[in-house]
Subunit: 164 residues, 2 copies
DNA sequence: CCTTGACTTAGAGTATTCTCTAAGGTCTAT
DNA sequence: ATAGACCTTAGAGAATACTCTAAGTCAAGG
């Protein structure tokens, strides 16, 4: 059985990555594994799909094309770059976890805001929250307010200006 | 007690948002609540910090400045836009949840890759995975391989080209 | 044979989110 | 009054990740 090779169009149809983008990735050095036909046509092998899959995963998880290129270049160099590649992935893993934590925090804020909008509509009063006693405030509101305080007092050594 | 007002520099020092960026946000319509002094100096009130906090949260959670502007414009219009603002936040909440789910999936892939690199170094063989029997493969590897298959066969009606 | 369509290259254009520069006005302290 | 720090505006430049255009090559189908 001869090796099956795919054209840029085949790959585009299968992966949903446009031929334009594939050529762009190639130009940027993200596809060092790529072979070319005698007249320069890009040829993708069965194995290359795994690399393309890895590229889309790294991208979706927030890695820049620049870093992805660095990784793919190491990959192309072979086994002796395994330690570097491992390090890159360990670091990237930490970044994903940090991003997930940040998103979770932001979700809390947005959840509070959703509650606020529902409540404000119910009462037909956007300022209702200012009139709540400490006992009436739900915990997420207290949390939100304390976060606003933190945000506002990052550096609190200077006196605010009086006036107008 | 007269109202306390803050200059762009004060706000920058407290929030870490550069004066440049604050002016840029103003120019783009993200700060419709802003007042100006007789000679045009931007003046921020105590309350405006909450709006700035909301802006940074929306940004960190992936909302575009364009959408944030739309939201702030609605906010400036007052109580009658509460339903629209509520809708925007409900939708944004869904987007955050979708993004979190995607990140979690990507984390699984990256976790698998971390395992792969550790194992490949241990065995000093980047191709060890090809030699594993079905029983020897950890579940995350089987999952990874099935995802690569899905990725590659998005549209599997066309025959691959033979050759070279 | 000629059209169609996929491929090639180099390079320009787009959207987003800043980031900086230039040119100039105003305020405060010495 | 003059320096220095702050403010204003308009607009250029940068990084990222495409996205498209132009100009041209090549091979297969009618």
């Amino acid at each position: 059985m001869s090796e099956m090779l795919y054209t840029i169009k085949d790959v585009s149809d299968r992966t949903g990555i446009s031929p334009h983008t594939l050529r762009f990735y190639d130009k940027e050095g993200l596809l060092p594994f790529l072979r070319k036909s005698p007249h320069g046509t890009r040829l993708f092998s069965e194995e290359d799909f795994e690399s393309l899959f890895t590229i889309t995963c790294l991208k979706k998880s927030g890695m820049s094309l620049h870093k992805i290129r660095d990784f793919m270049q190491l990959y192309a160099k072979g086994v002796e770059t395994l330690p570097e590649r491992q390090y890159m992935f360990e670091e990237h893993r930490k970044e994903i976890l940090a991003r997930m934590k940040e998103l979770e925090e932001m979700l809390n804020i947005v959840n509070y805001k959703c509650w606020y909008f529902a409540e404000a509509r119910l009462r037909n009063d956007p300022d209702f929250y200012k009139k709540l006693s400490a006992e009436e405030m739900p915990p997420q509101m207290i949390e939100f307010m304390s976060k606003v305080q933190n945000f506002k007092q990052a550096i609190d050594s200077g006196e605010p200006h009086d006036s107008v």
